[in-house]
C-alpha cells in the first residue's frame, strides 16, 4: 500500500472539487473493495476523499411511484428496508446473496456499482493485466479463467463485473443519478457499465470527477414473480459463476412482461431486451424460457476453464424463470 493523503468531504460539490484537485484521487465510502485493492498495490491513489458524510443516506419515494436509494445507504439497510422488501423483493434478495453480513453493513449502494473485477490476474501485480496496466496483455484468456466472462469479451479482457446488486438493478431498469464538474445527469443502468473492448481499464461510462448520488428505481418492482438465482462454489461469500435476476409480470399463465439479467458472465450485467420480448404474450413454459436463454447466450464463447458456463447459464435462466413463475399466480 502506498502513502496517500486523506480528506473528508461534507458536500457533493467539495467532494467533486477534491477529486479534481489531485492527480489520482479516489472516493472512499464503505471501503470494502478499495482498501483491499490498495493493500495489493492494484490501486495506488495519491489521495482519498472520504464521502461517508455526504447527505446521500436516504431512501425516499419518488413522485412517479419509484424509489430513490441514496448512494450512501448501506447494502444491509437497503436489503432490509421495508419499502424495498415489499416493493422490490428481487433487489433485497439479490443484495443478500452477495458478500457477507459484515461486508453488507459497510458497503454502500453507490460503491457497489464500482466494485472492480475479481479476476485473479487483475489482483496480482506479478502478472500482466490490461485492466490494471493497459497494454501489458491479458493473462486470463489463456490462463485460469474459471470465473471469467463468456459474453461481450474482447481480445484484451475477459473479466466479469462481480456485483450481484447491479444484476438486479439491470433487470429492474434502474436509473443512476450522477453529479460532476459539468453538473447533474442520469444514466440508464444499461448505459452505466461497459464492455471491455480495447479499453478494459474503464469499467463504466462515468466522466472524470463524477460521483453517483442516487439509484432510482422505477415504480414497477415485479414484486409478485421474481427470483435471483446465484450459482457459486459455496453457499455464501463467493462470487457468482452464473447468476440470474428474473422478473415476470403474469396474467394467469401468460407473460405480460419479462426481465432477465445475468451476472458472472460479462463485463457488465448482461441483458437483451429483444430476448425478453420473445416472452411477451407467451405462456410461462420451460420451452419458452429455453428460447430466451438461447437468445441471451447467443455468441457466447468459452476460454477453457469457464466454458461450462455456456451450458450452465441457460439451465440457470430456465430454472430462475420457472421459480419466478411458481411464486404466485394471479
Amino acid at each position: 500500500m502506498n502513502s496517500f493523503t486523506y480528506t473528508r468531504a461534507e458536500t457533493v460539490d467539495t467532494a467533486i472539487g477534491e477529486i479534481k484537485a489531485h492527480h489520482t484521487a479516489k472516493f472512499i465510502a464503505g471501503g470494502t473493495n478499495i482498501l483491499d485493492l490498495m493493500k495489493e498495490n492494484v490501486e495506488r491513489p495519491d489521495h482519498l476523499v472520504d464521502i461517508t458524510r455526504l447527505p446521500l443516506k436516504q431512501i425516499e419515494t419518488l413522485p412517479d411511484g419509484g424509489l430513490r436509494l441514496g448512494a450512501l445507504v448501506t447494502n444491509a439497510d437497503t436489503a432490509y428496508h421495508p419499502e424495498v422488501q415489499k416493493r422490490y423483493p428481487l433487489l433485497s434478495k439479490t443484495i443478500l446473496a452477495g458478500a457477507s453480513a459484515q461486508l453488507r453493513n459497510m458497503a454502500t449502494d453507490g460503491g457497489n456499482l464500482f466494485q472492480r473485477t475479481r479476476c485473479y490476474y487483475f489482483y496480482d501485480t506479478a502478472t500482466p493485466c490490461n485492466k490494471r496496466e493497459p497494454g501489458s496483455g491479458c493473462s486470463a484468456i489463456n490462463g485460469f479463467n474459471r470465473i471469467h466472462a463468456i459474453l461481450g469479451t474482447s481480445e484484451h479482457c475477459i473479466a466479469t463485473h462481480p456485483s450481484d446488486m447491479a444484476v438486479a438493478l439491470a433487470a429492474l431498469e434502474a436509473t443512476i443519478r450522477v453529479s460532476g464538474p459539468n453538473g447533474e445527469r442520469t444514466l440508464a443502468m444499461a448505459d452505466f457499465h461497459r464492455l471491455p473492448g480495447d479499453k478494459p481499464q474503464y469499467d463504466n461510462n462515468l466522466e472524470a470527477g463524477e460521483i453517483v448520488t442516487s439509484i432510482d428505481l422505477p415504480a414497477n418492482g415485479f414484486a409478485n414473480n421474481y427470483n435471483y438465482l446465484k450459482l457459486r462454489d459455496r453457499s455464501s461469500y463467493a462470487f457468482a459463476l452464473v447468476s440470474v435476476a428474473a422478473a415476470l409480470e403474469l396474467e394467469g399463465d401468460t407473460i405480460r412482461e419479462a426481465r432477465v439479467a445475468l451476472g458472472g458472465v460479462a463485463h457488465m450485467p448482461w441483458r437483451k431486451p429483444e430476448a425478453e420480448a420473445l416472452l411477451k404474450g407467451q405462456k410461462a413454459t420451460k420451452e419458452n424460457f429455453r428460447k430466451v436463454a438461447e437468445a441471451l447466450l447467443e455468441g457466447a464463447k468459452g476460454f477453457g476453464a469457464n466454458t461450462f458456463k455456456i451450458e450452465l447459464a441457460p439451465r440457470a435462466i430456465v430454472r430462475a424463470l420457472v421459480m419466478a413463475t411458481e411464486m404466485k399466480k394471479k
Binding site: Y120, S139, F144, R146, R234, E311, L312, R315, R319
Partner: protein
C-alpha cells in the same frame, strides 16, 4: 473402568475465556517499546534469477531502517545441516536471502524493516527488482513420471509388496482400475505466521513464534545463528491453528531473528495471507488404484501407485499408499510411491498427511468396485475386514472398526439405502448415500513434564508442548486433576516455552498419548510422595496401606475399599511441614510392548448429499462419523476435533484447491476470498459417535489421539454419495458443480 471425575467427561476449554476475551495473546501480539517491523518482499517470478535489486527508493522513505536482500543480508551458517529442523526432510532447506536464485513462487527476496508496519509495507512496494525468468514446471500431471520416494521422516517406510499383485489382478474374476487426482491445498490457519523477537539489554532473545514446537524453533535458530539455548528462548502460548504448517520453522522466524541480530533491536515479522501460499502445502497427487476381487467380493489383489510433488531442493515424503496394505485382508498387494521435483515450495504435513489423500483414492476405488460387484459398499468392506495388519504382519492393539461400521450404519439408517444410483429424488434434487473407512496411527513419543503441588492446594503442571486449538491445555488439566484427585480449577497447565520440560512436535495425533502420559507420571510421582507423607501422619488411617490400595479423590488420599479412611492432601503437607512437592518425569513409550502390535485409530463415515439435477449444486446434508480412537479424555473437545475433521473432509471433496497457472507457476487464488473452504451455510447435520476401545498397549492412558482420524475417509464418502445420487463418478477433486453438468 474405575469411575472418574474428569476423564471422559465433557469439560469446557480451560482457556476458552482467555480466547474469547482476547486475553490470550498470539505471536504477533506481544509488544515492547522500540519494536520495529519487517515486511517481506516476495518474488514475482517462480523460477530464474534476480539480475538487479534496487532498494534506494525504499531506503529513502523516512522511518525505514534497513532493506535486507541477498546482496547485503548476513549468511550466518553455511551447511544445509544447520538449517535442518526436527521435521526437515532429505535435501537442502530454504536459506532465505542467500542467493539471487528463485526456486518457487513468492519466494522471499527481501525484508524491509521500518518503525511501523505501514511504512515497511509501503517501502516494500518500492523495492525494484529485475529478473531473468525461466519457464517453471509446476504441473504434476503434465509428465506423470517420477522417481522412487526415498525412506523419509516420521515413519515413511517404502512398503513391502506381498504375494504377486500383478498376477492376482490379471487372474481376478472382477477387475477395477482408475486414476484419481487432487490439487495442492494450503493450510491457511486463521493466524498468519508471525515471529516477535524481543532483544534484552544483554542481547538475549525472547522469541514469540507461531509454531507447533517451541523446541524446534529454538533448535533451528540456535543452529543457524550459532546461539546458545539460553540466548534464544522461544515462547508460544497460543497458536491460531496449525494443521501441520507449524511443524517446521517458517521463513518469517529466520528473517525476524536475522534482522534483530543485525539491527540489535526487537523486530516483528508477520506474513500476509498471500504469503501464506508461499509456504509448504499438501502436495498434489496422481494415484492409480487397481482392485481385483472374486465374484463373491473377496479382494484378491490391490495395487496402489501414487505420484506426488516435491520441491527441487527437498524430498518431502508422506504415507500415501501404505494404508492400502493395512485397510483390508488381501494376500497380493503392490504399493508404489513416486516423487516428482517441481518448481514449488517444499510440501509439508497437513492434517492426516498422506492418509487424507491416499485413503481418498482407495476408498473411492472400493466404492467403485462395490458397484461393479453389485454389492453393498459396507458389505464389501465387512467381507474384507482386516483382522490383522498384513502390512506389518502384526495384530492390532485394538480395532473397533466393526463396531464403528455397525453403530454408524445404524445411526445413519444405512439399511434403508436403495442400492441403485440416481434412484432417489426430491423435486429437482437427487439424493445419494455414500460411506468410507478411515485409518490413522496411534503413536506415542518421548515427552517430559513437571508438576508442582503447593501447600495451598494449587497444582502447576508444565510441558513445552503446544495447543494449536486442539485442547491441549484442557486435556492436560483433566489428566492432572484426575491423577491427584484435585478440582480442575486448582490446576494450571503451562506449555509453549523452551524453559519447560521438552515435549515432541505437536503433530501426528500423539500429544495426548505422549504429553498426557508424562503429565500422568509426574502427577503420580507427586502422589507417591504425598502417600509417604500421609503414612507418617499421627493416627494415619493409611499406615498399613500400599500405594496400590489407595486412590486420590476430592482433594484426599483414601483407601480404595473404604473411602472414609482418608486424609486431606493439603493437611498432609501442612502437618508434615512441606510447602511444595515438585516432580519432573520423562515418559518413554514401552517399545517392547508396543512393537508387537499395529496401533491405529479407525473410522466409518456415512454421508448424505443432495445434488441439483440441472445445476450441479451439491449440498452435504448429513454426516455420521463413528470413531474408534481408544479412550476419550475429553468428549467435548474430542467431538470438536472430529467435527473439524469432517468439515475439512467436505472442503477437500467439494471446495479446496490451490489453483496454479502453470505458465507463471503461480497460485492464482492466493486469498481466502478465492481459495474456498466451506462457510457455515455449507455445513449441516454432523454427528460424531465415539466407539471406545480399552487399549493399554498404546500408552498407559489408553488414548489413541484424535487430531487426524476425523478427516480421513470423509472426502471419499462425500464423493461416493455424489455418485450414488447422480450416477456420475468424479475422480478429480474437488468436485465442483461444473464437473456434474
Amino acid at each position: 473402568m474405575a469411575a472418574t471425575t474428569y476423564v471422559g467427561k465433557p469439560i469446557s476449554r480451560v482457556d476458552g475465556r482467555a480466547k474469547v476475551t482476547g486475553e490470550a495473546k498470539y505471536a504477533g501480539e506481544f509488544n515492547t517499546a522500540g519494536l520495529v517491523y519487517g515486511y517481506v518482499v516476495s518474488s514475482a517470478i517462480t523460477k530464474g534469477k534476480i539480475t538487479k535489486i534496487d532498494t534506494s527508493q525504499a531506503l529513502s522513505i523516512p522511518g525505514v531502517l534497513q532493506v535486507f536482500t541477498h546482496e547485503n543480508a548476513p549468511r550466518p551458517a553455511h551447511f544445509d545441516r544447520s538449517f535442518k529442523d526436527d521435521d526437515a526432510v532429505a535435501g537442502a532447506p530454504l536459506k532465505p536471502l542467500y542467493s539471487p536464485e528463485i526456486g518457487f513462487s513468492m519466494q522471499p527476496i527481501a525484508l524491509v524493516v521500518a518503525d511501523t508496519f505501514e511504512i515497511a509495507r509501503y517501502a516494500a512496494s518500492l523495492v525494484e527488482v529485475e529478473y531473468k525468468a525461466e519457464k517453471p514446471e509446476t504441473d504434476l500431471t503434465s509428465k506423470p513420471k517420477g522417481h522412487k520416494a526415498p525412506k523419509g521422516k516420521s515413519g515413511f517406510t517404502p512398503p513391502k509388496d506381498r504375494g504377486n499383485a500383478k498376477k492376482a489382478f490379471e487372474m481376478a474374476d472382477v477387475q477395477f482400475e482408475a486414476e484419481y487426482v487432487h490439487m495442492p491445498e494450503h493450510h491457511n490457519a486463521l493466524e498468519m505466521f508471525s515471529s516477535t523477537v524481543l532483544m534484552d539489554e544483554e542481547g538475549k532473545l525472547k522469541i514469540y513464534d507461531k509454531t507447533q514446537s517451541a523446541f524446534n524453533s529454538q533448535k533451528y535458530i540456535t543452529q543457524v545463528f550459532g546461539l546458545s539455548k539460553d540466548e534464544a528462548r522461544v515462547v508460544s502460548p497460543f497458536v491460531g491453528g496449525g494443521f501441520g504448517s507449524g511443524l517446521r520453522p517458517q521463513y518469517q522466524l529466520y528473517l525476524a531473528v536475522m534482522a534483530a541480530l543485525e539491527l540489535k533491536r526487537s523486530v516483528r515479522v508477520t506474513l500476509t495471507r498471500q504469503q501464506m501460499f508461499s509456504l509448504g502445502h499438501r502436495p498434489a497427487t496422481l494415484q492409480t488404484v487397481s482392485l481385483g476381487a472374486s465374484e463373491a467380493g473377496a479382494l484378491q489383489a490391490i495395487k496402489h501407485e501414487a505420484l506426488s510433488e516435491t520441491s527441487r531442493g527437498e524430498e518431502y515424503t508422506e504415507v500415501i499408499v501404505n494404508w492400502s496394505g493395512s485397510l483390508y485382508q488381501c494376500d497380493n498387494v503392490k504399493l508404489d510411491y513416486y516423487l516428482r521435483n517441481l518448481d514449488v515450495s517444499t510440501p509439508m504435513d497437513m492434517r492426516a498427511p498422506g492418509a487424507a489423500t491416499g485413503v481418498l483414492a482407495t476408498e473411492t476405488a472400493m466404492d467403485e468396485l462395490s458397484y461393479k460387484l453389485g454389492m453393498d459398499p459396507l458389505e464389501l468392506r465387512l467381507l474384507n475386514y482386516a483382522e490383522v495388519n498384513q502390512l506389518e504382519g502384526k495384530p492390532f492393539s485394538s480395532k473397533a472398526l466393526r463396531e464403528c461400521y455397525a453403530q454408524g450404519a445404524e445411526r445413519f439408517g444405512w439399511s434403508r439405502r436403495n442400492p441403485v444410483p440416481r434412484s432417489t429424488r426430491e423435486g429437482t434434487k437427487l439424493i445419494g448415500w455414500g460411506m468410507a473407512t478411515g485409518i490413522w496411527d496411534a503413536q506415542q513419543k518421548k515427552a517430559a513434564a513437571k508438576a508442582n503441588l503447593s501447600v495451598d492446594g494449587k497444582l502447576v503442571v508444565a510441558s513445552g508442548t503446544a495447543d494449536i486449538g486442539t485442547g491441549t491445555y484442557t486435556a492436560m488439566s483433566i489428566i492432572a486433576a484426575e491423577t491427584l484427585g484435585l478440582p480442575i480449577e486448582a490446576v494450571t497447565f503451562k506449555l509453549g516455552d523452551t524453559t519447560l520440560p521438552e515435549a515432541p512436535l505437536e503433530g501426528g495425533s500423539w500429544t495426548v498419548s505422549s504429553v498426557g502420559t508424562a503429565v500422568q507420571e509426574a502427577c503420580e510421582a507427586i502422589g507417591k510422595k504425598l502417600f509417604k507423607l500421609a503414612k507418617k501422619l499421627k493416627d494415619s488411617p493409611l499406615k498399613k496401606a500400599a500405594f496400590e490400595d489407595i486412590a486420590f479423590a476430592d482433594g484426599r488420599i483414601q483407601l480404595k475399599g473404604n473411602p472414609s479412611a482418608s486424609v486431606s492432601i493439603i493437611e498432609t503437607m501442612r502437618q508434615t511441614g512441606i510447602n511444595y512437592i515438585e516432580e519432573e518425569t520423562t515418559a518413554l513409550p514401552n517399545f517392547l510392548k508396543q512393537m508387537k502390535y499395529s496401533r491405529n485409530t479407525h473410522s466409518a463415515v456415512f454421508v448424505e448429499v443432495e445434488v441439483d439435477e440441472d445445476l450441479g449444486q451439491i449440498c452435504v446434508r448429513r454426516v455420521v462419523s463413528a470413531i474408534a480412537g481408544g479412550r476419550v479424555i475429553n468428549p467435548k473437545t474430542a467431538r470438536s476435533q472430529i467435527l473439524g475433521g469432517i468439515v475439512w473432509g467436505i472442503s477437500m471433496a467439494l471446495h479446496e484447491e490451490s489453483v496454479l497457472d502453470h505458465d507463471f507457476g503461480r497460485i492464482m487464488n492466493h486469498n481466502l476470498s478465492e481459495y474456498h473452504v466451506p462457510v457455515n451455510a455449507d455445513i449441516h447435520d454432523l454427528e460424531v459417535i465415539f466407539v471406545e476401545e480399552h487399549d493399554k498397549i498404546v500408552n498407559p492412558l489408553g488414548a489413541k489421539g484424535l487430531g487426524e482420524i476425523g478427516l480421513v475417509g470423509v472426502a471419499a464418502a462425500v464423493g461416493n454419495a455424489i455418485y450414488h445420487a447422480t450416477g456420475k463418478r468424479v475422480r478429480d477433486f474437488p468436485i465442483t458443480l461444473d464437473k456434474l453438468l
